[in-house]
């Protein structure tokens, strides 16, 4: 974590050499709702995939597109634009 680094660990010019190293961040923790896919209804149009601002929906098994709950912030855009209503937003459960 950043607060464990000392001045000696600073890169010249504070340049970050490792591309995309922020991807460890579990933005899934932000969620208050999560998307649930009804595979029966899904027509695999990939609109949910392309419209996710967090790139949290990924091409998965058998051509379905599913939410990566590690990243999904639960915005509901996928549910809102699904042309066949195959995605429902449900309240995030306390685990």
């Amino acid at each position: 974590m950043a607060d464990e680094l000392t001045w000696k660990d600073m890169e010249v010019g504070n340049i970050i050499l490792e591309a995309g190293n922020a991807s460890f961040r579990k933005t899934g923790d932000w969620r208050t709702e999560r998307p649930i896919l009804d595979k029966e209804k899904c027509i695999k149009c990939a609109l949910c995939w392309i419209y996710c601002p967090d790139a949290a929906i990924k091409p998965g098994e058998e051509g379905y597109y599913e939410s990566d709950l590690y990243y999904c912030k639960g915005c509901g855009i996928c549910s809102s634009i699904c042309p066949v209503g195959a995605i429902k937003m449900i309240e995030e459960q306390e685990t």
Binding site: I16, A46, I50, P53, K73
Partner: protein
Amino acid sequence: METKAVKFGGKLVTTKEFLAEGHSFCIGCGEALAIRLAMKALGENVIMAMATGCDEVTTTPLPYTSWRVPWMHTLFENTAAEISGVEAGLKILVKKGRMPEKNIICVAMGGDGATSDIGIQALSGAFERGHDFIYICLDNEAYMNTGIQRSSATPYGASTTTAPAGKFSMGQATRKKNMVAIAAAHDIPYVATACPSYRFDLMKKVRKGAELKGPAYVHILSPCPTGWRYGTDLAIKIGQLAVQTGIFPLYEIENGRYRLNADPPKLKPIEEYLKLQGRYRHLTAEQVQRIQQMVNEDYAKLKEKVKASPL
């Protein structure tokens, strides 16, 4: 096997994410989507310069970065000057034989404040000098990163924290600065408006602007749930309404000639767009009517320009 691309009818869109997952854009952010789509159109052979703003702050808190392309940020108002240096630097190094020609696309991105307010000088200079770059304005219509303060891109009637609706104020009392017309007035080869709700239109325009020689300007409406005050799931719907009501028409200007990409036979009433957003909640019926009038005027003016010099 990992899917390399997703097929949409005849179009293939890469599954590569140049803006890494795990960024800290707000839940349901239209700007994040706009950037994600633009990056897919641009590919990895780019060097990006970005202004201080939402997009910079949510993606690069030291020592972490969400960028999977070469990326730089210095200050707020100088992105166009910075990319001018990148472009000229690359060109001269190739000319002097110090690096191979790779046709690297120079991309500058900035918010509406960075573009039409504090950064307009640098942008104007870069346009005039004719550098080979694409400038993408992510327009969420206020200084959102610092807390929803007004910019010259804030539309008439919208409430922001520095031009708030109040007992003696209707919010923004000035009209949105027409940055697209200002870009076009520099006679650059390509100017376009785009909206993430129209994903292929956006990607096509970004690709076109990137591949052309000379300066290109693409102005992307970026719906903001935090600042525009709407439910996090509405970015696409709101973007669609912006286009369908005519308040944000989709058009291109190629070498001074206009093409209107979407011209609905009847524009939807502006109220449908305004009523979804808390920043317009304070408006009276008269004010909404005034806004409708202004939208009609501006749309008519645009249609005249399209008629006068069609593509």
